[in-house]
């Protein structure tokens, strides 16, 4: 056997999926910040989190992802896409791009994603639960019902979240997410 007949192989890249995920996660990250300042439930969940709370939600091994944490005022803040230099208290990492694509294109709901072991969570589990609930609410705001229904276990009925709160909230959160305030 000639060793040179069996060269090293560096697997390729999949830019399309990566770009989609980067955009999706960028919006979601900023929407969490916006929702925490708009929706009272999300606000309350954030209040319950410890002061040094810092979440990274991303894709293994090289991203994309986002960091959301509490700023010095204790308010939720989107802190960019990079992990580096931040002391993360809760890491939620999806094992690979394909899995992330399944979850963030709602082919698998978040709960199913968990059931399918797509996530690796490090950190305090009760923080993860809070963030789980926050993400559900953010998705309800961001996405039309028909899509969100794929992502969450139970879509809230009007008693739990009135249409007014939902639609007004949606406009505000979108605006804030994109403008970043």
């Amino acid at each position: 056997m000639r060793i040179e007949n069996y060269p090293e192989i560096i697997p390729g890249k999949n830019p399309f999926k990566k770009i989609y995920l980067a955009i999706f996660l960028w919006i979601t990250g900023r929407a969490i910040q916006a929702a925490a300042r708009t929706d009272r439930v999300v606000k309350k969940e954030f209040e319950m989190l410890p002061d040094d709370f810092m979440l990274y939600l991303g894709v293994s091994p090289n991203g994309p992802g986002f960091v959301v944490g509490k700023d010095s005022n204790g308010k939720a803040k989107y802190m960019g896409a990079k992990l580096k230099g931040k002391s993360i208290t809760l890491k939620m990492i999806i094992k690979n791009i394909e899995a992330a694509f399944l979850v963030f294109t709602f082919q698998e709901s978040t709960a199913v994603g968990f059931a399918h072991d797509r996530f690796m969570v490090s950190g305090n589990l009760d923080e993860a639960c809070r963030i789980g609930r926050v993400l559900d609410i953010v998705e309800i705001y961001l996405l039309p019902k028909i899509i969100t229904k794929l992502a969450v276990k139970r879509y809230p009925n009007w008693k739990q979240m009135s249409p007014i709160r939902k639609h007004v909230g949606r406009v505000i959160i979108y605006t804030r997410a994109i403008l970043g305030f």
Binding site: M1, I3, Y6, P7, E8, I9, I10, P11, G12, K13, N14, K17, K18, S60, P61, N62, K95, N96, I97, E98, A99, L102, H116, M120
Partner: protein, 385 residues
Amino acid sequence: MKLTEQFKFFNQAKIISGNKGLNNIPVELDDYNASKPLIITDKKSVEKKFDKIFIKALSDSNLIIGALYGSVSNEAKIAEVRELVDLYIARGCDSIIAIGSESSMNTAKAVNLMLCEKKDFLEIKDVNQNLKPLIGILTIDSRDTFTTDIVTVDARTLQSNYLFPNVVIIDPRMVKGGSEESVVERSLLALTQSIEAGTYGVNNPMNDSYIYSANQYIYENIKVLSKNRQETEAAVAIANAVYMAGVAFSNAPTGIAYALAKEIHKLTGESIGKVAAIILPHALRWINGKKDNGIKDKILQSLIGIEGYAKTPSEKRSIMVIDEIENLIKSFPKSLPSNLKDLKLQRYILENIANIIPDKIEYKITAKECLAIIDAAWSSEKEKV
């Protein structure tokens, strides 16, 4: 349920099964701090472009494939193993991934052994240490020992707990396709392994849970998949059954149908799966007459489901198992004859094999009894056993 008083169970192989399963490889390797695997696969897999699918699934990871060796043929051979050890070292690999056929996995295991034991494969007598991370990727060509704790290279066989692969991956992209015949043969081989593991073995609930899941998967999916090899769910299910049967097989004594089939395969080249399946009901009929053993009626549940099982009176359950298997075998007239005669095996070879089997298995059987089982399978006459 009665437990046997003493038993052991071990399965090192983690299974990842389902959509995009392959894409988990980087994370799995990372668990072992590994990032540069040597890939060992065979010509058939390369022809079917499984190597390409595999490489694509690793995109956007930090893995480097140390080398992809795609020339393993039908049998693992010592010369190739030695060369691959050199390749592994030259490239500074830290893990091994085997894709496809038995021979790929056997080669991979042997390479792993040589690397860790630091001596030639032929000089290794037993294994007492953890080996390098080894991942097995099942394809439509994987069967028999792909997921077991056994390695066979050049007629030399070793068994050790350390020889299970660490991770076994079943991904729909790799397990669809092939011919009806290969589906039947692969599935029925797994069925033989699992049913025999649950029959000759002790009452071991750990192993039984693999056995019953395997049976159930095979029984529910073999017909669907043999008709349409592109049926994703059925294909994944059968591959799962291959894995489960392999584990069950590793944790139980070898059964008679399997032992006979393996020997017949060695001498005639006939597929183990086909021969084993034809012999299975006759071997079961024989063991069912034994005082100390018999077919556990629970096997029936795994074959025909809870409802049918519950409806069958308990004294009829073991006989029903045999009938069910016989009916199953008959449902593939194109791929599988119902007796050894129609398989065109030579009587004189079978007679010779009957004489050597008693020394090869743990369960007590005489050459005469072996021959009686072969006789029954020869013409599929029930009364002979």
